[in-house]
């Protein structure tokens, strides 16, 4: 049977069209494959990651805190954490955990666990972690983290505060400036092989993780801080006191140079953080009646309101009937007729009570508020208290007289020292500050602390008179224990009773000394308070003044003299 011959051109045409279709399909498939490879579906990626990758949230490096001389006070260092993936964990190996960790830890992992992730131990120092497990245990993995370390231990612990295990600030500068210091935790990817062995690939596929934390430079001088802490602890222990506080500021700028609180704590040991008394910063977080250290402030109010002048005299007979109560001096000692300087030198309660009668209560209240009492100083520290001051409507009976002798009003040591600093600097109440400079990750300064005047609370003449009177208190008055031949100190002692359940009880006192030096041109203003000393010595002049003097003398050893004051060594 003869075959019908096809036309040649038609045959070729049909074949080409078929092949073109095939090539087109192949091209589409190739393009699809390339597309899927280059832009995989997110669900597929997640599924594969679940199988081959484990993601763990770990803390990033937290910013440093330094003192004014750039000495690091708080740094983050590498540490090792251990975790268990139950999928690869054999509970029979739990016994191996007992020795390096604790028996309770081993007990926890003896049973079958659900899920894929359990912390075993966190933030173990790297050197120690390296020695813990020489042989790998299947299902137990390690990961590199950061741990907050305070290289100087107790030094400035109440200023710095502390962080939780995830490096999140919990107190002090760490809390108040957490938004600068804290770098959000990043996700760390761990790859797994078929046996569950992990490979720690830092940052996963995102390369080097970006650290967003800044650095904080404080106004603290770690040398002055160390001196203050040593002396305060020594003094508080010798007086068997429950608590203590010390703060030193620059009267012309408001910089806080040292801030110490007793009992102190070492934040490197997390067990110490359970002690609430030690954690509390007594300089900003404790309010108490200041006692006689308040008298220079109320006396300057009397001078500024013209209720008293430099020629005013007051007669003290030891006791005085006022409203329904009796005001009295220590041991009911009569000081006789005294001028303002002698009222301060003798710390005369009667003289101050008489003085208070001439000051309009609204005016006195307003000036006390201008001095910063009853409101926070807004220092850059967490946990600051505002203090307590009665409204003028409550200033009845003996209340004004009590306030003038430093009772019936509650202040923080920082408020008191800033008020005294206004006397030292010529009458300007400054805002205290402790953060000198804040820099971002790139080293750019984003905040700089500086001098800020809140009010001109007294005239320079009044301030000058008060400075001279306070110098006499130390040289010839009740503050003789603060007198030093090495440095001219001016100050005021104070012993306040502590009210418990609305009544002043004997045996509970706060002994304080506030002052400045050199008296002629003050460079430092400082307050030392010793709370609830036990024993026969409880006056501010007995226990706080010697601490003040020793700190002032020590600071003088390390600070260069001012112009016009030449330090010489006698024979």
């Amino acid at each position: 049977m003869p075959r019908i011959k096809k036309d040649e051109p038609e045959c070729i045409r049909r074949s080409k069209s078929v092949w073109r279709a095939v090539y087109f399909v192949l091209a589409v498939l190739a393009a699809g494959t390339a597309w899927i490879q280059l832009n995989p579906d997110i669900r597929v990626v997640r599924q594969s990651q679940k199988q081959y990758w484990a993601s763990v949230t770990v803390s990033a490096s937290r910013g440093e805190i330094r003192d004014r001389n750039d000495i690091p006070l708080a740094v983050s260092v590498p540490a090792t954490s251990f975790f268990i993936d139950p999928k690869y964990w054999d509970p029979k190996n739990a016994g191996l955990l007992a020795k390096p960790f604790e028996e309770s830890t081993a007990k926890k992992f003896r049973k079958n666990l659900t899920g894929r992730f359990y912390w075993v131990a966190r933030n173990i120092p790297k050197e120690k972690a390296d020695t813990l497990f020489k042989n790998e245990i299947p299902g137990l993995y390690r990961i590199s983290e950061r741990i907050r370390v305070y290289p100087h231990g107790e030094l400035a612990s109440h200023v710095l505060g502390f962080c939780d295990i995830d490096e999140y600030g919990q107190a002090g500068i760490e809390l108040a400036w957490n938004h600068i210091l804290y770098s959000p935790p990043r996700t760390r990817f761990l790859t797994r092989d078929s046996k569950g062995k992990t490979l720690d690939i830092i940052g996963g596929k995102s390369g080097v993780p970006k650290n967003t934390s800044g650095t904080i430079k404080l106004t603290l001088d770690s040398r002055i801080q160390q001196i203050m802490e040593w002396r305060l602890i020594e003094g508080a222990k010798s007086a068997n006191a429950s608590w203590g506080a010390g703060v030193c500021v620059d009267p012309y700028t408001g910089e806080i140079l040292a801030l110490a609180s007793y009992p102190s704590l070492d934040p490197n040991n997390r067990k110490n953080l359970a002690d609430q008394d030690a954690v509390r910063n007594n300089v900003v977080g404790r309010v108490f009646e200041p006692g006689s250290v308040f008298k220079p402030i109320t006396m300057s109010i009397a001078l500024e309101t013209a209720a008293a002048n430099r020629n005013s005299h007051y007669t003290c007979k030891g006791t005085m009937k006022l409203a329904d109560k009796t005001m009295s001096d220590v041991n009911k000692k009569a000081h006789g007729t005294q001028d303002l300087t002698h009222v301060l030198m003798n710390s005369c309660n009667i003289g101050m009570s008489l003085m208070s009668m001439g000051v309009p209560r609204h005016q006195a209240y307003g000036m006390l508020r201008q001095f910063g009492f009853g409101e926070k100083t807004e220092v850059e520290l967490a946990g600051e208290e505002a203090g307590l001051i009665k409204s003028p409507e409550e200033w009845l009976g003996t209340v004004p007289a009590n306030i003038f002798i430093g009772q019936g009003i509650a202040v923080t040591p920082l408020q008191a020292v800033m008020a005294i600093a206004s006397i030292a600097n010529g009458g300007s109440l400054l805002k205290p500050y402790i953060v000198a400079e804040v820099t971002d990750t790139d080293g750019k300064v984003i905040h700089r602390g500086g001098r800020r005047v809140r009010y001109q609370v007294m005239s320079p003449a009044t301030a000058g008179f008060m400075r001279a009177a306070m110098k006499k208190v130390v040289s010839d008055g009740g503050g003789k224990m603060a007198f030093s031949p090495k440095v001219s100190i001016a100050g005021k002692t104070g012993t306040a009773q502590i009210a418990t359940a609305g009544e002043y009880s004997k045996g509970h006192y706060v002994a304080s000394f506030v002052g400045f030096w050199p008296a002629e041109k003050p460079r430092y203003v400082m307050m030392i308070s010793i709370g609830e000393p036990k024993g026969s010595r409880y006056y501010g002049g007995q226990i706080a003044a010697p601490i003040f003097r020793s700190i002032a003398e020590d600071i003088m050893q390390i600070s260069p003299p001012e112009d016009g004051a030449l330090r010489t060594k006698a024979n």
Binding site: E8, T33, P72, G203, P485, Q557, G564, A565
Partner: protein
């Protein structure tokens, strides 16, 4: 014979085109695979470099801690006292000098004013530098 010849002639161009296309697709697939492998290799290198950077950072942090420990005031103070025998200067006295006395003392040691007269200025034998010039 004519038919076979026709088939032979008809299939030849299709076969070569097929081979070319197949090769092209194969090369593309191989290139894709190579690129993917190269990407993985680069990722590995990035990971390795990131690891090195992280290790350097860790060393840096450790050194920073050691550095700050060395700068500890307590350590320096105790070292100075125990090892170097530092003691507090006990016999310090503060001497305050009045401003007027300082001015008087300074005035006493002021250098005498240079002669800057016309004759001095034009004297060719004296080669002095004049600050005002």
């Amino acid at each position: 014979m004519q038919y076979t010849g026709c088939r032979h002639e008809a299939e030849r161009p299709h076969s070569s085109l097929f081979v070319i296309c197949f090769l092209s697709v194969f090369i593309c697939a191989a290139a894709l695979g190579t690129i993917r492998l190269y990407g993985l290799y680069l990722e590995h290198r990035i990971s390795e470099t990131a690891g090195k950077i992280e290790a350097c950072k860790e060393i840096n942090l450790e050194m920073s801690k050691k550095y700050s420990e060395l700068l500890s005031p307590a350590r320096i103070y105790s070292y100075a006292r125990e090892e170097l025998g530092m003691v507090n200067a006990e016999n310090i006295k503060v001497v305050r000098v009045n401003n007027s006395d300082v001015m008087t003392a300074q005035a006493a040691v002021y250098p005498t004013e240079e002669k800057t007269g016309f004759l001095d200025y034009i004297n060719p034998f004296v080669r002095k530098a004049h600050a005002k010039d």
